[in-house]
């Protein structure tokens, strides 16, 4: 696959790792590796899928951040989604990722087993198509995702209006990337040397929104692509900044990200959405101005206005230590319930819920480094 295979070349990876090893050895002290956080769930997935942590030297440690917009949806919001799905006549559409996220009492897949018409879609446009094909049913789309995905929801809402579709609405749970990044940087327990910055979010918002990271908090950030070589190159760039005494936002993903982002997408976002005053992030608590809702002009497409939802806030289980894992304070295996009460099949908290939550990724992939393996 073009633009994919070249970025998985093992020989080039070795070159990058040699450089990383050399640079990190100048910076790391015994028992204190250089720590970088990748914010984006997609990066976490790539890191584990390719076993990148195995190829990095022990002087570089990757901490997995909260950039999984699926994982951070609070249980109460999932319950609301299920409540809407169970209403008679509703066709509830959702991305695959959300189907197994547990609310206070079950997930969407289980609701489907109980008789709700829940359908998985690949694109919000598919949900609109279902609405047009079923004019006598109410079709709701469960919108999740950062600024990468929000423009797609926005275009779909505009299309619905343009085509005069009245039986379509959106249950909006889009969140924005900068507030949780700030929340992490504000944390007093923070021990990070730099950030591997979001990739696809940046195709929309550009690089400029991250300037506060070096500017206010003194940490370098490199916007990174999603293939293994992208991540390795970004680590090189971060290490070079540290050894050269620089601290700035750099762009590794130049083939897809420009400093200004995608102006058209930003314009559409501004037209269709507005910021909620605050929104609860599972594991991180309430963060202000961190989520989107449909602006008043598009109230007709807002599922929260069209339907009565319980709106009950469900607290995370007491055993859950997701907040600490998300901030990089503890590692997944240090959580009391990791791997026993909390597993990918029976997730308690957000970090285990999606395959790129730090705990799920570690359980499924990273566990390996701690199990004795004799080299083949």
């Amino acid at each position: 696959m073009k633009f994919v295979d070249e970025y998985r070349d093992p020989a080039a990876a070795r070159l990058a790792v040699a450089e990383i090893t050399a640079l990190a050895s100048r910076l790391a002290k015994p028992g204190q590796p250089v720590k970088f956080m990748e914010v984006c769930g997609g990066h976490t997935h790539t890191i584990y899928k390719h076993g990148i942590e195995n190829v990095l030297p022990p002087t570089v440690e990757l901490i997995h951040g909260p950039g999984c917009p699926v994982c951070v949806i609070p249980m109460g919001r999932v319950d609301d989604a299920i409540a809407v799905a169970k209403k008679p006549g509703v066709i509830f559409t959702s991305f695959g990722d959300m189907m197994r996220v547990p609310g206070g009492s079950g997930n969407l897949l289980e609701a489907k087993a109980q008789g709700a018409d829940v359908r998985m879609v690949y694109s919000p446009l598919d949900a609109l198509r279902i609405a047009e094909a079923n004019p006598d049913r109410e079709v709701v789309f469960f919108a999740v995702g950062f600024e990468t995905t929000a423009p797609s929801t926005a275009v779909t809402v505009l299309k619905a209006r343009e085509r005069g579709v009245t039986n379509f609405s959106v249950y909006c749970n889009h969140v924005t990337i900068v507030p949780p990044l700030k929340a992490i940087l504000e944390s007093p327990d923070l021990r990070l040397d730099g950030f591997i910055g979001p990739g696809h979010v940046s195709t929309v918002i550009g690089n400029r929104p991250y300037r506060f990271v070096p500017g206010t908090y003194g940490k370098p950030l490199v916007t990174a692509g999603f293939e293994p070589l992208d991540i390795l190159q970004s680590i090189v760039m971060l290490l070079r900044q540290l050894t050269e005494g620089r601290c700035e936002v750099e762009n590794q993903y130049t083939r897809a990200v420009s400093d200004g982002g995608n102006p058209k997408a930003l314009e559409i976002l501004a037209q269709v959405f507005e910021l909620r005053p605050h929104f609860e992030w599972r594991g991180l608590g309430f963060i202000s101005q961190s989520a989107l809702k449909l602006s008043p002009e598009f109230a007709a497409f807002d599922a929260e206005i069209r339907f009565d939802v319980p709106g009950v806030r469900v607290a995370d289980p007491k055993a859950c230590q997701c907040g600490e894992v998300l901030k990089g304070v503890i590692k997944p295996w240090e959580c009391k319930v990791f791997g026993t009460a909390c597993t990918p099949e029976t997730p308690i908290g957000t970090c285990m819920v999606s395959s790129e939550g730090a705990c799920a990724a570690y359980y499924n992939y990273g566990r390996l480094t701690k199990i004795p393996v004799k080299s083949a």
Partner: protein, 399 residues
């Protein structure tokens, strides 16, 4: 952290459901930032946690659900829990508990037969490369072949919805007849039931099959030894992706065809060239990853797969990348995984490659003594990761 607390009602989720003797208190873990011996103590603690997890994983899967959901049919952990807790629990006998593709039964004459059954409910019923009719015959033929048997006699039971088209039924049955002819088996008995409209989805087919196991053939996961090689008979992921695309929900277009095929002849050639073959299993629901996990668990060995050697069609790979699914977990209907002693691996490979259904066969991994019960993938990049048992249906992801 900025933010205003939402004045809404709050419901606490009780801790009662998380009663678990394995939960370790923070004091016991003694987590603290300042550890004077740095990495070593931390590493020991991490290993202790890993051991606890491994013990927990080996517990018999528990079934807590009250209602069946789609995860129970996906072939992964939820399926295993269902079978264990409901069926094995009730039927309890040694033969059933071997949990192979079918049962090996001893006749008074001393001969052994293999006996297997499977049900077919695939939607859509017709897809590029085949139909539910082909699957119904191939599936049972293959289960028997995986036990080393020569499949001979098949039964076919049909549950048909009131109003179903007889023309379509004829088409399905014609496919079954073709498949049976090709495989050299005969359908000797059957049954038909008609149910009310809405009580089933068109038609459901159940086939069972019987075949003789030649003397000296003894395939069993428990024969697997460290040092053995793992082979696959061809390119993986075709069937599952073909069906996903045929369903149309994802609006993908690609000329990918199901690989549905009878493997009995291939198996015959394989066993002739590599008589020391330890174990065979067809990689249906849950894919190659599930077969390897089952092997690793049943034989208590480690399985290491090498990503660079996995045969996958470019187009199937492309579809999987778009959807965010892993070809290792996608169902196949004409592919087998074989474990053979290292000294017979090349002969096994050559025998498969010489057969039209095995032209893309490859050696994809090794059996290792450690870590027992775990499947590891050596990535093309040079890293490693665990290929765990499937949790629920492999749903396309966007994240």
């Amino acid at each position: 952290m900025t933010g205003v607390d939402d004045p809404g009602r709050t419901v606490g989720v009780g801790d009662a459901e998380f009663v678990n003797p394995e939960v370790i208190s923070p004091e016991a873990l003694a987590i603290s930032e300042a550890d004077s011996d740095g990495g070593a103590a931390e590493s020991n603690r991490e290993e202790a946690v890993m051991e606890r997890i491994e013990r927990w994983r080996r517990h018999r899967p528990r079934l807590k659900d009250e209602l069946i959901n789609s995860a129970h049919g996906a072939g992964g952990k939820a399926s295993a829990a269902l079978v264990d807790a409901v069926f094995v629990e009730a039927f309890r006998n040694e033969t059933l508990e071997t949990m192979a593709d079918g049962a090996v039964l001893g006749l008074p004459s001393g001969e052994r037969i293999a006996f297997s059954t499977d049900s077919y409910v695939v939607k859509p019923r017709r897809f590029p490369g085949g139909s539910i009719g082909h699957l119904a015959i191939h599936g049972t033929v293959n289960d028997l072949s995986m036990m080393g048997a020569a499949p001979s006699w098949i039964s076919a039971a049909f549950i048909i919805e009131d109003g179903f088209s007889i023309a379509e039924l004829r088409g399905i049955v014609a496919d079954m007849a073709d498949a049976a002819r090709e495989a050299g088996v005969i359908v000797v008995t059957g049954d038909t039931k008609v149910v009310d409209r809405g009580a089933c989805d068109g038609v459901y087919i159940t086939t069972a099959g019987v075949g003789l196991i030649p003397p000296g053939v003894n395939l069993d996961a428990r024969h697997i030894r460290p040092g053995d090689k793992v082979l696959v008979s061809g390119r993986i992921g075709d069937h599952g992706v073909a069906v996903l695309i045929a369903r149309g929900d994802l609006a993908l277009e690609a000329p990918i065809e199901s690989d549905t095929a009878p493997l009995n002849e291939l198996v015959e050639h394989l066993l002739a060239a590599a008589p020391g073959t330890r174990f065979l299993r067809d990689a249906t629901r849950g894919g190659v990853a599930t077969v390897c996990n089952e092997m690793a668990r049943d034989a208590e060995v480690g399985v290491t797969l090498h990503e660079a050697t996995l045969p996958v069609r470019n187009m199937v790979n492309g579809a999987c990348e778009i959807l965010g699914i892993d070809p290792l977990y996608v169902a196949n209907e004409g592919k087998l995984v074989a474990v053979v002693p290292a000294e017979e691996a090349n002969a096994a490979l050559a025998a498969m490659q010489a057969h039209r259904l095995g032209v893309d066969a490859a050696i994809i991994g090794d059996i290792t003594p450690e870590p027992p019960g775990i499947v590891v993938l050596r990535t093309a990049l040079g890293g490693s990761r665990i290929v765990d048992m499937l949790v629920g249906d492999p749903l396309p992801r966007i994240c």
